[in-house]
Amino acid sequence: MTATLAAQNTGEAAVFWICGALAVLGALGMLFSRKAVHSALFLAMTMINLAILYVSLSAAFLGMVQVIVYTGAIMMLFLFVLMVVGVDSSDSLVETVKGQRPAAILFGLGFAVLLIGLLGSGTSDMPAGSLAEANAARGGNVQGIAELIFTQYVFAFEVTSALLITAALGAMILTHREHDEPIPTQRDLSKARFAAGDPSPLPPPGVYARHNAVDTPALLPDGSVAEISVPRPMSLRHSEVDRVDVEEVDDVAGGSNVVIDEVTGTIEEIPGEDS
């Protein structure tokens, strides 16, 4: 009996140190990654590790709910909204409130020291306890929680349903958009395109360039870069990547085929491949 208990304790300790460290790493990654999508993925990592910790704390139901609701629904909602808001929503590094960043660092450190110091001084050596009896009393963790929710906390449960309905309605109202003018039909769009004076389709990306990936701009016959050939989200995503120098291309493009190496940015000539 004591041997199995000791083995359980070692197993729990291993789970705690591995998943706890990964959870903290995920939280740090969320804080310090520049792009919001990376932050969301790091937070999903933290949440999955917390779910494993819940299971090892004999809260199997909450562990599953954590995976399904938090990492499944909430984080995917975050990613969906990031997709709507766009890839150009990364943080600005401009400090609008003077001295706010150092103050935030000071506050964060102070808060952590306060919480952990409180824990170390006042109420140290809290026993681990056990949920074995409480879980076994109703035949399992899920049954035990279900009994509590549907008897003692049934009123809170019903209020929760009202909250969820209100939240769903609120989200629909907040994101609903009335159309002031009718949605343009295909005929209207076609007319507008001819009226603009450029009825031909936009140049596809990668024409006369080395690659035909969507983020590679097409080169015009004179060697300059056609900005309209790259879809707008793509050009936003690569706005920090150096674009090809137009003058550099002009220097070399003396009638021969010229390609630009994307990685090194160097310009290579391909002899004898005239088309």
């Binding site: 705690f16 919001a36 709910v65 929503s89 600005s92 964060g108 306890g129 209100t166 939240a167």
Partner: protein, 99 residues
């Protein structure tokens, strides 16, 4: 593993969330920090539930999750609505009420 360990981890995660909320400018990342703080408090609930040997702490954590889900839905809808009118997801942009 004593309950202390779990509470310490919960405190660390909560402080990181509070720090990030002050530090980051992107409204969506600020929201993620709020979620991190809610998760940290849930961990404390579950650890205390085991310490006391009853399931009420787990029921509280469950209700926290439901409220967090509702909060995220409304909050993200507000962010989308602000982004539509202001074309920005930065928390410094909506400063119209500043005197």
């Amino acid at each position: 593993m004593t309950t202390d360990h779990y509470i310490a981890l919960s405190a660390i995660l909560f402080s990181l969330g509070a720090f990030g909320m002050l530090f980051r400018r992107n409204a969506i990342v600020v929201f993620m920090c709020v979620e991190l703080m809610l998760n940290a408090s849930n961990l404390a609930f579950v650890a205390f539930a085991r310490m006391h040997g009853n399931l009420e702490g787990q029921v509280f954590a469950f209700f926290t999750m439901v409220v967090a889900a509702a909060e995220v839905v409304v909050g993200l809808a507000i962010i989308v609505a602000i982004f539509r009118t202001r074309r920005s997801a930065s928390v410094d942009e909506p400063s119209l009420l500043r005197f």
